[in-house]
């Protein structure tokens, strides 16, 4: 099913949790809603499921305007962060519950529950209660319960946040597998960038209720549309070197040597900017445009992580071990084409 959000807004009194959110989720797509805590991800999900009515804008499921439709009529499946399994029911009864409310006859209920349980690998646990399951098993039961009624839209609100690191990794692949098998349109909420990039067809990055960028995972990383997006993605975080542009040269704060890079071609004189460079975008080069002082070097297998300074600013760079950097040495660097950006220091807008 195709989902269209048209300028969806949610205000709590005078606080705007989601502002003018517009996006289209194509049929069968898995879209990640990514953003820091409190940016309105759950609020948006709750508007999709019908728990919260929007205060502005419209939501369409295919041709139906569902903006004011109550949750029980929407045909969505929702997996809560805490799973929300019914503690007094067995796994089987939990999975059957959505079918029971639809008055599906009992034999068919059980058959469908068993079928979906097999898909998420909980078919051996049907007689247990949620209290007797591990976090990962509970999560899979919750997914089974959301899927069993063949929802038009599957919503997952940080379903992995209660799991340990290894299980998270396994479960996110599992979710991807199940989603691709069932071809259900899905929205996956997370504040973990790695999770978002790994699992989704598309990522919508939000900040304070406003969409920052809606793009393919790789493009979000390679072509961030503003400073916030660039800062949010990447580990280690992107290096931001503040400075001023004069005569198409970049003067990092605390230096008087101008750096010449093609990026500064079209930037006005006197502009305060951030030169933002990903740690893996540096190349050591004898006559490179960037002068740097090596503070410390950490060896990490085939590469070294070097902490360097340029003027007043410290930054990190991955450098090939063969270069043989030494603590305290001065060196010169160039940058690759990918992973280098110039942002307006004040507004965060992308300049190059």
């Amino acid at each position: 099913m195709r989902v269209v959000l048209d300028h969806v807004t949610k205000k709590f009194d005078d606080f705007t949790a989601v502002s003018e959110f517009s996006a289209t989720l194509e049929d069968g797509e898995l879209v990640c809603l990514l953003g820091p805590s409190g940016c309105g991800k759950s609020t948006l999900l709750n508007m999709l499921s019908g728990i919260l009515p929007p205060t502005g804008g419209q939501i369409f499921f295919d041709k139906d305007n569902v903006t004011n439709m109550p949750p029980e009529k929407r045909g969505v499946g929702l997996v809560f962060q805490n799973y929300a399994l019914y503690p007094h029911m067995t796994v089987l009864d939990n999975i059957c519950f959505p079918l029971e409310t639809q008055h599906v006859p009992k034999p068919e209920r059980i058959e469908r529950a068993n079928e979906i349980a097999k898909l998420v690998h909980v078919d051996t646990l049907m007689q247990r209660r949620p209290g007797e399951l591990s976090g990962g098993q509970q999560q899979r039961v919750a997914i089974a319960r959301a899927l069993v009624k063949n929802p038009r839209l599957l919503l997952l609100d940080e379903p992995l946040s209660n799991l340990d690191a290894r299980l998270r990794l396994e479960m996110r692949e599992e979710i991807r597998r199940i989603q691709q098998r069932t071809k259900v349109t899905a929205v996956f909420v997370t504040h973990d960038q790695e999770e978002a990039l790994a699992i989704s067809d598309r990522v919508i990055l939000m900040k304070a209720g406003v969409v920052q960028q809606n793009d393919l995972p790789q493009r979000l990383y390679d072509e961030p549309c503003n400073q916030f997006v660039a800062n949010f993605l990447g580990n280690p975080p992107i290096n931001n070197i503040p400075g001023t542009v004069h005569g198409h040269l970049f003067f990092a704060d605390g230096t008087d040597e101008g750096i010449s890079l093609p990026l500064f071609q079209n930037i006005a004189d006197g502009k305060r900017v951030n030169l933002s460079i990903r740690a893996e975008a540096f190349i050591p080069e004898e006559n490179g445009p960037i002068p740097a002082h090596v503070e410390r070097v950490f060896t990490m297998g085939k590469e070294e992580l070097a902490i360097m300074t340029l003027g007043d600013t410290e930054f990190r760079a991955y450098i090939d071990t063969e270069v043989g950097l030494v603590n305290g040495q001065n060196t010169r660097l160039n940058v690759r084409r990918r992973g280098v950006f110039v942002f307006d220091l004040e507004s965060g807008a992308k300049l190059a």
């Binding site: 949750p71 029980e72 499946g77 809560f80 929300a84 503690p87 007094h88």
Partner: protein, 272 residues
């Protein structure tokens, strides 16, 4: 020091326990004594034989079986109805959003301050006006709802996470279906407490039946016992036998369910 205070604690509890237990012990033993043993001075501790003759005599003199049945009927119907109304009210206050919800609930809670004795006169008038004086209706009708039990259940309902409710709604469940399929089964411990407390209160109720019941046909056990005591004043051993019949079911119930009673009151009373 700590050890000493422990010793005192246990000593205190033991003494209090004996003081509480003694009347029941005395009643139970006296129920089997002969007339001479009961009035003997110095008192006789144990009866010479455990014969049931006092019970027989008491049952001959007054229709205790009738009283017993009445008590059961009143208890079952008032407990059933009260439980249902309390569940519905608690759900409304805990989950549904309607204007004046908080005000109304505060108002109800403040009404818990009124002792039942204060309501007797107004309730009595109402019963007369409805024309149900001296009938089963008079015994049941005023006890078909309870603020206290509503309060206990609401406190439990409040602890159930929102996500369970919304999950059920998204899965196509109505409020009604959610209440009976999810909330009520989950509230079983609290419900058990409420039902037991209510049953106990109903069984022991004395003052109200005394005001509104004038004939043997509708007398309940405690009120019947009182009447019998006045009539059989000269036979304390028969009084004790009758009292034993009144008290025994509740003692047995309490022994089986004391975990729920104590736990539920502590839960409902301390939170919120």
């Amino acid at each position: 020091m700590r050890k000493l205070s422990r010793v005192f604690t246990y000593l205190f509890l033991t003494v209090t326990g004996i003081i509480m237990f003694f009347p029941f012990f005395w009643m139970f033993m006296s129920a089997f004594k002969t007339s001479a043993e009961v009035t003997a001075s110095p008192p006789v501790w144990l009866p010479s034989s455990f014969s049931l003759v006092n019970f027989q005599l008491a049952f001959q003199k007054a229709p205790f079986l009738r009283y017993f049945l009445n008590s059961i009927i009143v208890m079952v119907s008032s407990v059933t109805v009260t439980t249902v109304t309390s569940i519905l009210a608690a759900f409304a206050f805990s989950r549904l959003r309607f204007p004046g919800r908080q005000t109304l609930f505060t108002l109800l809670l403040s009404m818990m301050m009124l002792p039942f004795e204060m309501l007797i006169i107004t309730n009595y008038r109402t019963v007369i006006d409805l024309g149900i004086y001296d009938s089963m209706w008079a015994l049941v009708l005023p006890f078909t709802s309870s603020i206290f039990y509503t309060y206990i259940l609401k406190n439990f309902f409040d602890t159930v996470p929102d996500s369970l409710y919304w999950s059920a709604r998204i899965d196509g469940s109505s409020n009604w279906n959610y209440l009976w399929k999810v909330m009520v089964p989950m509230a079983r411990p609290s419900l058990t407490t409420v039902i037991l407390l209510n049953a106990l209160a109903s069984w022991n109720s004395f003052m109200w039946p005394m005001y509104v019941i004038a004939t043997d046909t509708y007398r309940t056990l405690p009120w019947g016992l009182q009447v019998f005591t006045t009539e059989a004043g000269s036979n304390p051993e028969q009084q004790m036998a009758a009292s034993t019949v009144v008290v025994l079911p509740m003692i047995i119930l309490f022994l089986f369910a004391r975990k729920y009673i104590v736990g539920g009151v502590a839960r409902g009373g301390l939170k919120g």
